[in-house]
Amino acid sequence: MTIYTRDVSRRSLLVYGGGGALITALGLTACTAEEESPDPFGGGGTDAMESPMLTELVEAGELPELAERLPTNPKVLEPLDGPGQFGGTLRYAQTDVNATAVLQSFANQGLLEWGWDANTPEESVAESWEVNEDNTVYTLTLREGLKWSDGEPFTTADVLFSMVDWLGNSTLMPAVPFWFANLDGTPLTAEAEDELTLTVTCNEPFALLPKYFCHPAVGYQFLKPRHYLEQFHGGLTDEATVLAEAQEAGFDSWDQLFADRDNLWTNPDRPTMGAYQVVEAANAQSGVGRLSRNPYFWKTDPDGRQLPYIDEMQIQVLQQDTMELRAANGDLDFLGNGLGYKAAQVLQQNAETNGYRMLRWRTSNDGLLAMCPNLSHQDEVLREIFLNRDFRIALSHAIDRDDINNTLMDGLGPIRQPNPTEGSDYYVEGGQNYLEYDVDKANELLDGIGLTLGSDGIRLRPDGAPLQVTAIFVEATDGVPRADALGMIQAAWAAVGIDLLIRPVDGTLASELRNGNDFDFDCTPHPSNDWDLEPVWFIPTSSGSHTAPGYGLWYNTGGTEGIEPPEEFQTLMDNWDALRSAATDEERIAAGQAIATQHDEEAYVIGIVGVPFQPVVVGVDVHNVRDDEPSLDFYHGREGVTKPAQVYFAEAAS
């Protein structure tokens, strides 16, 4: 289906100038020759400057002309394979009625956004941005004439409202999130020079800030409509009035009302800057949500035609199996997030008959399953054993990863250690140690650190007790089957004299055990990249750490609680502080690489095997979806990496 696409790339359009539309028409006709539609441009063709749906509203006098709705300098988004036509309803599904991931993927909004490479921040709501030499003062200039989805102007007042009145308000935000905090926990300082210019000042250098502006789960939180939300803000409107209103609505306090009104997913009245706006929330009754295009959306294609191409989205809330069956039935137009790897076979088998194709995207960090030893274990004997590098290396060598891969993943899964991959800022040469299956070496290392074999074949701890450890895991339907993998690891470790018990736990309990520093091993998918946005995976920065919650708590509470980390972990934390407050990119990358090197050498986490790919279903009539296997990744907006505003239906579906 994508054969023709290169022929009608943006460049060829430029070359042929006015003939572009004709070429596209030829491309489309060639592509859909068997279809009998006399006019392939059911949605107004590629001549229409705006969706016919909006033209109707303009003609009825309910909406201003397109020129008045767009900013003076709209953000131009290059369509991937060529411009599309307007119209259609994109059918999508999710398993959790409250999950807002779809908005972050399809209606992402931020001061900045990721470029096509899903790594470089580029301008978005902000037309340009600058930073001073030591990464402490960021100056952002907003586009002129931006409007909220209700037509009200978007200015720095709205950004300040988010940064000062929301993030800086102790009732709404009891603790400032790390993505907007100085090292001492106070919020960054935000000031507006005028309606379009904004400065954000940090106490220390904060090189990661632009990344957080791009992060789809973070970036939108800087864009809150002051004109709508201030009436629910107890600090800006009379608190007693707001409280009374909150109680009327069944809430205990005004901040709950504020959060409810601020929820883009459940409140259709909340103005948005995203490409789509909720018109019907997926409430508990229907389980189907409806999104409609934002008539004031500020992106266009290179011909000045207002995006998004697709008019509406329908979000079905389904249970996992049902969702996968619907996808296999061709009932969904574009979905990646939540489809399990094990569904790939059914999806592939039915693709042709049911009118969709299954793309193989990479999963976020390959869904790499890993064993995380608790390096801050409460039991000092175990802690000392776990902290011994040779012990961890021995355990790594003891696992036959090929066997696990062949048995569980048809031999297709990547075998890796969870360290930054090539292309990432923090990638270091090597980075993949101790992966060979070598029982003799494992035994040798274990003998070497004085863990002698007991009479029953189980090694003895220094205190004479048998070395018995428990791995907790949360069973999940996607990714590598954890219980099966653990069963094989159990056998492998038994062969080198380590008695592993396996304990399946509920997600909540797992989180409690971790935060309580009360586990031996945690078996979990572990990311390899983008951990600078979520350091807890590589550096114990909080009690949520999978490898050393005790040290994490110590770090998080400034040394008042938790367990004091040994020197090597101090180094790790120092490097993290250095990364976070680096004045230049070189310093930041150097610090990050130091962390990666340390992980590489020390094998703090033992990687097992990952998922070969993440299935993504795309209807045959859905175009401009990337087929270069991008990563379906939380940090980069999952399906959002294909910039859904420029995705279109070849034949208008509605």
Binding site: R91, D96, V97, N98, A101, M173, P174, A175, P177, F178, A217, G250, F251, D252, S253, D255, Q256, A259, D260, N263, T266, E280, A284, Q285, S286, G287, V288, R290, Q314, Q316, V317, L318, Q319, D321, T322, L325, R326, A328, N329, D331, V474, A476, D506, G507, T508, L509, S511, E512, L513, N515, P527, E534, V536, S542, S543, G544, L553, N556, F634, Y635
Partner: protein, 330 residues
């Protein structure tokens, strides 16, 4: 009779209090609370949460208060203000959440109940009259199979068959395009198209018990002298069965009819979840999983009330229908 009813109602109040107390206690038994399950879910989605912020929220929502304080806050609001509180998960009043699911839930429950009776009663009577016949064995075997196969599995298999061979969209009580549409003839037709799957699955599973009970009761009655007398007097066989033994055989049936009321309300939780039905069952399940105290507590309270009321109705009905119960025990 009135005294009997009043007496029973007075018993109901402490029963309900104990039920809610135990329910509330059990929901809180698993480690953690709503916020920690929320965090676990966010982490599963790849997000990470700042523990300091969570601690502050915990205080704000009062989830770290002792059990008694939370229970009192909840129950006193219900008793004094009829306010079921706010669901943590949906951030909406519990009563709204339940009310919007109620019509479909009742529809599904009643349809299932009628389907079960329509199948089970004739089948039970038939297998009693034709005891040890081929038909009897077939009916019993089918009933037991339906009882033994886990409902959710049957639902998945049926859904897969529907998908594989009929290209039907799987799950839900409506096609997605009708879910939010206002009621129309087309929407009703769409509902009927989807309704039969859960009705058949849940309904068939319930038939076995009724078939066996009806069959056993009928067998007891069929050999009694009054049947022989009626037959000797020349009454046609069909009339004999309908007029006499069947009516007596219905006794246990009436005494359990009230139990169906709560099951109409909470339905078949797992089947409804698997099939993505917009009924109260899945709501209860997710509330329990995420430890959404007020929502789960509210649903359990309503189910408990309905159970008690159902039992009461059964007792009264039985007394009305069967003179032996009314005058017995004197």
């Amino acid at each position: 009779m009135l005294r009997f009813v009043v007496h029973r109602v007075l018993h109901v109040i402490p029963t309900l209090l104990v039920v809610t107390l135990i329910a509330f206690f059990i929901i809180q038994l698993p480690p953690g609370d709503f916020l920690s399950s929320q965090i676990a879910r966010m982490e599963a989605a790849g997000d990470s949460v700042d523990p300091a912020a969570v601690e502050a929220l915990r205080t704000r929502y009062g989830v770290d208060e002792p059990f008694w304080v939370q229970y009192w806050k909840w129950i006193s609001n219900i008793l004094l203000h009829g306010d079921f509180g706010l669901s943590f998960e949906y951030r909406r009043p519990v009563s709204d959440l339940i009310m919007e699911r109620l019509p479909l839930t009742i529809l599904l429950g009643v349809a299932t109940l009628l389907f079960t009776w329509a199948i089970a009663l004739p089948a039970g009577v038939y297998s009693a009259i034709r005891q040890h016949s081929g038909g009897d064995y077939v009916i019993s075997a089918l009933g037991f199979i339906a009882l033994a196969v886990p409902n959710f599995l049957a639902a998945l298999v049926l859904a897969y068959i529907g998908f594989k061979y009929f290209g039907q969209s799987v799950g839900g009580l409506f096609s997605p395009e009708y879910a939010n549409a206002p009621w129309s003839l087309a929407k009703f037709g769409d509902l009927l198209e989807h309704l039969w799957i859960p009705v058949v699955i849940i309904g068939l599973a319930g038939t076995a018990g009724i078939i066996r009970t009806t069959r056993a009761n009928m067998l007891d009655e069929l050999h009694k002298p009054y049947v022989t007398t009626a037959r000797a007097k020349g009454l046609p066989e069909g009339r004999i069965v309908r007029k006499y033994p069947l009516r007596i055989a219905l006794n246990p049936f009436i005494s359990t009819v009230g139990w169906n009321i709560p099951s109409i309300f909470d339905g078949e939780v797992i089947v409804a979840t698997v099939l993505a039905l917009g009924t109260t069952g899945p709501l209860l399940l997710s509330a329990l999983q995420s430890q959404d105290m007020y929502l789960a507590g509210g649903i359990i309270l309503i189910v408990a009330v309905l159970t008690v009321i159902g039992t009461l109705i059964s007792d009264v009905l039985l007394a009305v229908v069967d003179p032996r119960v009314r005058f017995g025990g004197k």
